[in-house]
């Protein structure tokens, strides 16, 4: 099949433009932040780098991070594939509701979600109290089990419950785009269902799984909030965060950022070459109608049990947040013993808290718009064009996933420091622009990956056909490509908006004046205030955050109708 050749100047110009834009918004601040790690006594030096490579504690922490990310990614695949398969292959009553509900775990607000998990899983927490109540545990005879352990298990549980929808969405999209003719052919040739899945379906959905797996792996590797709040300190992001918070930060910290950055990029590049090659020509749409089976009552019950069970577990932190938000007293009991609406009403009567909700909506919606425009263009250049520099562009758009937000934010602070030309948009003046840029840069990979996955699975032959019939490039893009990947764009937009609303690191460092606080910073301030009801008010704010994000999904459902169910099925 002849590949469409693109008019070189336009893609090349666009690629260069995007590379320069990302260089200014991403590379420059990161370089500013880590340059200290390579300077000793005023000269370039790899001294700090060498110190890290010979420090067993740090090497062990790097190992912990890789193990943590691997475990979380595997758990996400294991728990996301069954519902994704059911979704792709079966029809049953209530499927639409479940398809939306399964995205709910993603809208967990930071800090308070981890706090509520700790309340649930800790040694004298809710689960052990339940076990004691039903007679399976006796604290007087033996110490209650510590479900969080050293913290590793707790972090894996929380990260997996939070991130598995990414894998579910990607797997669903990939499965929906697999041409059923291949599976039918395999079954006709005598292969069983298991063998067909392992030999045919799994390789075909590999790009989708890889797209989700890469996001989850790098997210888990560079995640700061979950390990910090769960108390698992032995990972590099937590070390970097703590060292940056010290009065005197050693240059080693910045060198450590470089190591983490290099590790993430290397893993990403290795992963891309080993697992992530697009299965060109294997997937197609519309050659054969998708084969879905209508489930009977028992099948429907089974599907509900799988979805419902997963949802129940995944929504436990949310339930905990809601209960904390309305509890007047919750000590040593399974459920609160007093309830109050005081915290919920305080959030809306207090100027700072409701301002934070509005701020987050402003920052997240503008940054999502920017991400969709830049992300679609970048994805098209990476997947469709054959221009020079697209590999570099691909790496650059993925780079934000490997850059701890704190470092990026520190870079923006340096770029807008008093006395510099950009002082006016600094954290102390009007940080709207840098917050929006930071959010947009941090979440750009979601859109690029989401749209790329769609583009990879849309056969180029359809575009070629349009071109052969005389359509211009622009018309082909608008009339053929865009509709086919529209659901990917919407899904990526919803994801980006949700995660921008929940953005942690940039918010902590770039919003320094209370009038500019987004919701996450306000939650952090309240959750760590140490006041009597600070955690309750933080949880109440979290409840509002969840309601807004839930409404986002619900309204998307209303606007898209049945297509939301096929959000990745276009």
């Amino acid at each position: 099949m002849a590949r469409a050749t693109t008019a070189r100047p336009v893609p090349l110009g666009a690629t260069i433009g995007l590379i320069l834009l990302l260089a200014a918004l991403l590379i420059a601040p990161v370089c500013l932040a880590i340059s200290n790690g390579f300077i000793r006594d005023g000269h370039f030096s790899v001294y700090w780098f060498a110190r890290i490579l010979t420090n067993n504690v740090i090497l062990a922490e790097l190992g912990n991070g890789v193990l943590l990310a691997t475990t979380t990614t595997c758990v996400c695949i294991l728990i996301a594939l069954p519902p994704a398969l059911i979704r792709a292959r079966c029809r049953f009553r209530g499927q639409g509701i479940l398809a939306v509900a399964i995205l709910a775990p993603m809208i967990l607000p930071p800090f308070v979600g981890a706090l509520s998990m700790r309340h649930l899983l800790s040694q004298f927490g809710v689960i052990n109290l339940v076990l004691e109540r039903i007679g399976l545990l006796d604290s007087a005879r033996s110490g209650p089990p510590d479900w969080l352990g050293s913290g590793f298990t707790g972090v894996v549980i929380l990260q997996s419950l939070h991130l598995f929808p990414i894998m579910y969405l990607n797997a669903s999209a990939a499965l929906a785009n697999v041409d059923p003719a291949y599976a039918q052919a395999a079954r006709n040739l005598g292969a069983g269902a298991g063998r067909t899945f392992l030999s045919i379906t799994l390789p075909l959905i590999r790009p989708g799984l890889f797209a989700g797996g890469t996001l989850i792996f790098i997210w888990a590797l560079t995640d700061l909030g979950t390990p910090a709040i769960i108390g698992y300190e032995h990972v590099v992001p937590v070390r970097i965060f703590k060292e940056l918070m010290n009065a005197e930060t050693s240059a080693r910290t910045y060198s450590l950022v470089f190591v983490l950055l290099s590790g993430s990029i290397t893993l990403y590049v290795l992963g891309k070459f080993i697992f992530g090659r697009a299965v060109a020509g294997q997937s197609s749409k519309a050659t054969v109608a998708a084969e879905t089976r209508l489930l009977g009552p028992w099948g429907t019950a089974g599907a509900w049990l799988i979805f419902g069970g997963l949802l129940f577990v995944a929504l436990l932190p949310h339930i905990g947040v809601v209960l904390t938000g309305i509890s007047g007293r919750w000590v040593n009991t399974i459920l609160p013993t007093k309830y109050t609406l005081r915290h919920l009403s305080f959030v809306v009567t207090q100027k700072e808290t409701y301002n934070s909700i509005l701020n987050s909506l402003r920052y997240a919606s503008v940054s999502t718009g920017i991400d969709i425009v830049i992300g679609c263009l970048a994805a098209w250049l990476i997947v469709r064009s054959r221009t020079v520099g697209k590999g570099l562009l691909d790496a650059l758009t993925m780079l934000p996933l490997a850059v701890p937000g704190l470092i990026l934010a520190a870079g923006y602070v340096a770029m807008t420091a008093p006395g510099t030309p950009l002082e006016g948009i600094g954290p102390l003046k009007d940080p709207f622009i840098i917050l929006v840029i930071a959010y947009a840069v941090r979440r750009l990979p979601f859109v690029v990956r989401g749209v790329s996955a769609g583009l990879q699975q849309v056969p180029e032959s359809l575009e070629e056909a349009a071109r052969n019939l005389g359509a211009s490039k622009l018309r082909t893009a608008i009339c053929i490509t865009a509709p086919l990947i529209a659901a990917n764009i919407v899904a990526a937009g919803v994801l980006t908006f949700a995660f921008a609303m929940l953005e942690v690191s940039d918010s902590l460092i770039l919003a320094q004046v209370s009038r500019d606080y987004p919701i996450t910073k306000q939650i952090y301030i309240l959750a760590t205030s140490g006041t009597q009801d600070g955690a309750n008010v933080a949880a109440a704010l979290g409840v509002y955050g969840m309601v807004f994000l839930g409404a986002t999904l619900a309204i998307a459902s209303a606007l898209l109708g049945r297509r939301l169910g096929a959000i990745f099925r276009a």
């Binding site: 005197e248 009567t349 909506l361 320094q512 140490g530 986002t552």
Partner: protein, 473 residues
């Protein structure tokens, strides 16, 4: 489709704005607006011929690790006070930099390295140690305090300075240290409640203790110094502290978070500043108890200071005057609902002025103690405290936090071998460069250089890990 989605996003935003607008104009809880505000309104009208809303608003910029409750209560009270006195309402802009007092100090140093002013008027709260350092670096402006105020604040209490002799900072409240525990769960597990610091190292509490990371929390660092000084010698104090560190199941980033652990069921006991402990106990008095170990704790000041070249010096001085006035001091401790008390919830801290305890007697929250009557039986060696501040934080980090699992394993081995003296000696051994007072002072100097500090911390971490591994074998 994208356009529809964007519309939908703005729809949600509009809904939020509607919710928000319904409340706009509120400056605090309803009861505050309705009761106290009306009284002030009348006074302002009589004196200035204008309503509160018609008065000019001036802005004060402050940076503080204090929680929102404290910030809100003082903002509301000071703004009304200022309206009555000076015919202007005050908007206080509270700055944060994403961390506690250490982060604030780092931020201020960085800003002052580049410019003569940091654009902030006031620094309020944190350990007095940070204020001493900032004062020594010339980053604090002397303030004025009347003779009446200074007569009620001791210059030194329990060996600690309560204000700077050049008035570059002054304590605004005092805090003690102790521990909070879950009475119900301790009893259910058949464990006797702790009474003194050394009780926290009892083997039956292994894995049931929550502590704060001293490199993140200045108050935790102060508490560990008190534990060390509650023993006769440095090696004995270190051994006492190390045994406590070995029982920790987690190290939190802030003292407040540690105090939450017994409430959330994450630990049975946690070290805590008195007001964190006391406010938690108020939440569930039958389940929780705060103990200040008798003779083993000192009260330290919580300072306020005017920063170098403040944007609005006059207003900053007025705020200091208000905080140090009887009325301002009452906010710390008087029950909500009392005439000079906070509006929303108790702040639960001890005022630094002695006369306030008599003036508002009977109106305080139940857990407020008069430190001057109670007396600070622990006389701190403040010079040693200053010298050891940096080294001790990093020793705890190397011995307890970075090697938490190895420490637990070594301690388990000690318990298993019934505290075999040879292993105990090895367990308690300190790195050679901090064995004596002179050596600690030398290390403290070296730690000022980040390169040397990194090397020392790495060496200590290796030292402790190897030692623990040998003991566990």
């Amino acid at each position: 489709m994208k356009a529809k989605l964007t519309n939908k996003l703005w729809l949600v935003a509009a809904a939020a704005i509607l919710v928000g607008c319904g409340q706009k104009g509120a400056t605090g809880p309803q009861e505050y607006s309705s009761a106290r505000r009306e009284t002030v309104q009348r006074e302002v009208q009589a004196k200035w011929g204008k309503s509160l809303d018609e008065l000019e608003t001036v802005t004060l910029v402050a940076i503080s690790p204090h929680n929102e409750n404290i910030q809100n209560e003082f903002t509301w009270a000071f703004s009304l006070h200022h309206a009555k006195q000076y015919g202007q309402t005050v908007h206080i802009e509270w700055r944060t930099v994403g961390g506690g007092s250490s982060s604030i100090v780092r931020f201020l140093r960085n800003v002052y390295a580049r410019s003569e002013s940091c654009g902030i008027d006031l620094l309020w709260g944190g350990g007095e140690f940070h204020f001493q350092k900032l004062a020594a670096q010339g980053l604090l402006d002397p303030m004025e305090l009347s003779g009446d105020v200074l007569a009620e604040v001791p210059a030194v209490f329990g060996g600690l300075e309560m204000y700077d002799e050049q008035l570059r900072w002054c304590g605004s409240a005092v805090s003690g240290f102790g521990f909070i525990y879950n009475v119900t769960m301790l009893s259910r597990c058949g464990i006797d409640p702790p009474r003194k610091w050394e009780d926290l190292s009892r083997p039956e509490l292994a894995g049931y203790l929550a502590l704060a990371d001293p490199t993140q929390s200045g108050s935790a660092a102060a508490a560990y110094e008190m534990i060390v000084q509650s023993a006769p010698t440095w090696p004995e104090g270190w051994a006492k502290l190390l045994a406590i560190l070995a029982n920790a199941n987690r190290f939190t980033d802030s003292a407040g978070a540690a105090a939450n652990a017994p409430v959330l069921g994450e630990a049975l006991v946690a070290t805590a500043i008195d007001f964190y402990g006391a406010t938690r106990v108020a939440e569930a008095p039958e389940d929780l108890l705060y103990v200040s170990p008798p003779g083993q704790t000192a009260f330290s000041p919580d300072p306020i200071a005017i920063l170098k070249n403040p944007p609005n010096r006059t207003l900053a001085q007025r705020f200091v005057d208000f905080v140090m006035s009887r009325r301002g001091q009452a906010l710390w401790a008087v029950r909500p609902g009392e005439p000079d008390g906070p509006v929303r919830s108790p702040l639960g801290r001890q005022p630094i002025r002695r006369d306030v305890y008599e003036h508002y007697a009977g109106k305080f929250s139940p857990w407020i103690v008069n430190p001057y009557r109670q007396g600070s039986e622990l006389k701190l060696d403040t010079e040693m405290r200053k010298v050891r501040f940096g080294p001790l934080k990093l020793l705890v980090r190397a011995a307890g936090i970075d090697n938490r699992n190895a420490l637990r394993a070594a301690r388990d081995k000690l318990i298993e071998t019934n505290f075999e003296p040879r292993r105990v000696r090895q367990f308690n051994r300190l790195p050679k460069n901090v064995a004596t007072r002179g050596e600690i002072a030398r290390v403290a100097q070296l730690l000022k250089d980040p390169t040397a500090a990194e090397r020392i911390l790495t060496d200590w971490t290796t030292f402790f890990r190897d030692k623990y591994d040998r003991i566990s074998r």
